[in-house]
């Protein structure tokens, strides 16, 4: 299929349709409006249903209803709206319902701003809502990868019965790039015999539920979820390594920031002789802990670069586990880091290394 030029938001919407998503429940919020708008136009053409809910809360509960009925379903929002969805996401996680949730992150806290940020990292990868649960979180850094991740997210979500999130930002959503819709690797997905479709007596009565009033039962459910999460960590962790073979300094960056970091290390190598490379998490949960821990055997220092006040850096530190210094550079509020900011930081780190210190 030929490449076409699309905004990230549109590519995400079309990728969902190509992945078989036929239900979408949303609510307007900048900077993700092109997703519901696109869905409202396209879903009727393919026999699907778009519905604009009265709130993000209602939208995520419609997702709960549709996912519980066995459909491929998606919702999208941006930071404050994702906060409103957290209760529903927690219920969805506990009820083991597959679905895809898109967060085109804007700056915060509070109403914040409408420009790109990565300050919802904690919320996305540490649970977000109440209770012990995880989402499979994809953090694409291009329009092409956003489309690929959406298709993959539906497959993975159905495979594990764990909700998946696309963690983009205003930049990924609004930017136009060429995109080609590529089929993800097909998985052998089990039939959704658990779905509430009507009780015909041929299979057990479906109960879509997250209530376990007995302590032992709730403990057991959480243990089952945790076992699934361990499988996901084993099988679904995705990352990209760039210039890491001889790197002294390993930059860890995802999404939009990873593109800036790539420019920065190219220039740092060419102009300052700094051997820097990148490990780019494509899934931020599961986080590429093992590959970062492995890099800590050889790299002398790490630099986490993010559009936040320092969130992913905590996972980098956990992965490095005290073996090497882990530095941080971040901007937020809609301020995009420049390659020079990262280069300056790399120069300072190199200076520290050559003086034998651990800055």
């Amino acid at each position: 299929m030929a490449k076409i030029l699309l905004k990230g938001n549109e590519a995400i919407a079309e990728a969902a349709i190509k992945a078989g998503c036929r239900f979408f429940f949303g609510y307007p919020i900048t900077p993700q409006n092109q997703i519901p708008e696109y869905m409202s136009r396209r879903l009727p053409e393919v026999g699907g249903t778009f519905l604009q809910a009265e709130s993000e809360i209602s939208a995520i509960n419609m997702v709960y209803g549709a996912a519980g009925a066995g459909a491929r379903v998606m919702t999208s929002s941006s930071s404050p709206g994702i906060s409103l969805k957290q209760e529903g996401i927690s219920y969805i996680a506990c009820a083991k319902l597959p679905c895809v949730i898109v967060n085109m992150v804007r700056s915060g806290p509070g109403l914040g701003g409408i420009l790109a940020a990565q300050s919802d990292y904690f919320q996305a990868v540490k649970g977000g809502g109440h209770g012990d649960y995880r989402l499979i979180v994809y953090a694409p850094n291009s329009v092409q990868e956003a489309a690929d991740c959406v298709m993959e997210a539906f497959e993975a979500s159905d495979c594990y019965r764990v909700p998946a999130m696309i963690l983009g930002d205003g930049m990924i959503g609004q930017m136009m790039e060429p995109v080609e819709f590529r089929e993800p690797k097909k998985r052998a997905l089990p039939e959704k015999t658990w779905a509430a479709t009507g009780y015909d007596g041929k299979k057990p009565r479906a109960v879509i539920n997250s209530l376990y009033i007995e302590a032992e039962q709730m403990n057991e459910v959480c243990n089952q979820l945790a076992a699934t999460y361990r499988q996901i960590e084993q099988n679904e962790t995705q990352y990209e390594k760039y210039m890491m073979d001889d790197a002294d300094i390993c930059v860890v960056a995802y999404g939009t920031t990873s593109r800036i970091a790539k420019n920065a290390i190219n220039k740092a190598r060419a102009e300052f002789g700094i051997k820097a490379g990148i490990i780019r998490p494509i899934t931020v949960w599961p986080f590429p802990t093992v590959v970062i821990a492995d890099a800590a055997q050889r790299c002398k220092a790490f630099l986490a670069a993010e559009m936040s006040m320092g969130q992913m850096v905590e996972d980098v530190r956990l992965s490095v586990n005290g073996k090497r210094p882990v530095h941080f550079i971040g901007t937020t509020g809609g301020v995009i880091p420049t390659p020079d900011m990262i280069i300056n930081k790399l120069c300072a780190i190199k200076e520290g290394i050559s003086h034998g210190g651990s800055v």
């Binding site: 239900f23 429940f25 249903t49 519905l51 809910a53 009265e54 709130s55 809360i57 209602s58 939208a59 509960n61 419609m62 997702v63 709960y64 209803g65 549709a66 996912a67 519980g68 009925a69 066995g70 459909a71 379903v73 209760e87 529903g88 219920y91 509430a196 479709t197 009507g198 009780y199 015909d200 007596g201 009565r205 479906a206 109960v207 879509i208 539920n209 997250s210 209530l211």
Partner: protein, 244 residues
């Protein structure tokens, strides 16, 4: 021997957790009988609330959801849109439907969502042990209105049926009571008509059941029925408020 009463096949054999004298049992039976009599056993899907009926998924013998507090109409919307041939109903109390879930019920009605809400109005939060509800009457004492509900302080009880009947998407809205046999028979007819409205694709339907809560009202079941008649009926008049 002649069978004079038989439990509906749409009710499971799991013992109810409801308090003795509570009217949830009657409401469950009426809903179950209507599903069975309409031959919709295999197409019925229910959505439970958070509140006293939180375990209703154990009792209705059909596919069920347990929703977050107040969100049952949104969950039902998702369920119905995926399987429009199904009979989808929510079963919600007054705290769930008229307080935290007010947005969801109003918009489901406004959209003409083809679902049926079974709304249990007992003027109190039962499950959490008797706090003031949006339907608590003026002067009524609860654990969070210990001096009696004061309109000056916390406003007035909401008449949900009247309010929803103003919406064009609402096709059938009725308020019924369970304080005596004739009213229970009327209540069943209302449920039946609500379900028929849904299956005919006419729009949103709701049946509001005036109900008792002997435990949290601090009354015997018989006294509770009397209290309902004396205090609730004047403020919440029975009748069909909308019929498309």
């Amino acid at each position: 021997m002649a069978v004079v009463f038989k439990k509906s096949s749409m009710i499971t054999d799991v013992p109810f957790h409801y308090c003795p004298g509570c009217t949830h049992g009657i409401a469950h039976r009426l809903v179950a009988e209507c599903i069975e009599e309409m031959g919709l056993e295999k197409r019925a899907v229910g959505v439970c609330p958070v509140g006293c009926a939180v375990f209703a998924y154990k009792y209705f013998n059909c596919d069920m959801y347990e929703a977050a507090h107040g969100r049952a109409p949104a969950v039902a919307t998702g369920a119905k849109r995926v399987h429009p041939q199904n009979l989808v109903f929510t079963y919600q109390g007054d705290g769930d439907l008229a307080s935290i879930g007010m947005a969801e019920i109003v918009h489901a009605a406004a959209r003409g969502e083809k679902i049926t809400a079974i709304f249990i109005n007992n003027a109190i939060y039962g499950m959490t042990s008797g706090q003031m509800a949006p339907t608590t009457l003026i002067g009524q004492k609860t654990t969070t209105s210990p001096y009696g509900r004061d309109a000056e302080h916390c406003g007035y009880p909401i008449r949900v049926s009247e309010m929803l009947s103003t919406l064009d998407g609402a096709a059938y809205i009725a308020r019924v009571s369970m304080h005596d046999i004739p009213n229970i028979n009327k209540a069943k007819k209302a449920v039946r008509q609500a379900f028929e409205t849904q299956m005919a694709g006419k729009g949103f339907s709701l049946v509001e059941f005036l109900s008792t809560c002997p435990t949290n009202w601090g009354k015997t079941p018989v006294e509770s029925m009397e209290w309902l008649k004396e205090h609730m009926l004047p403020y919440y008049p029975l009748g069909v408020y909308k019929e498309a």
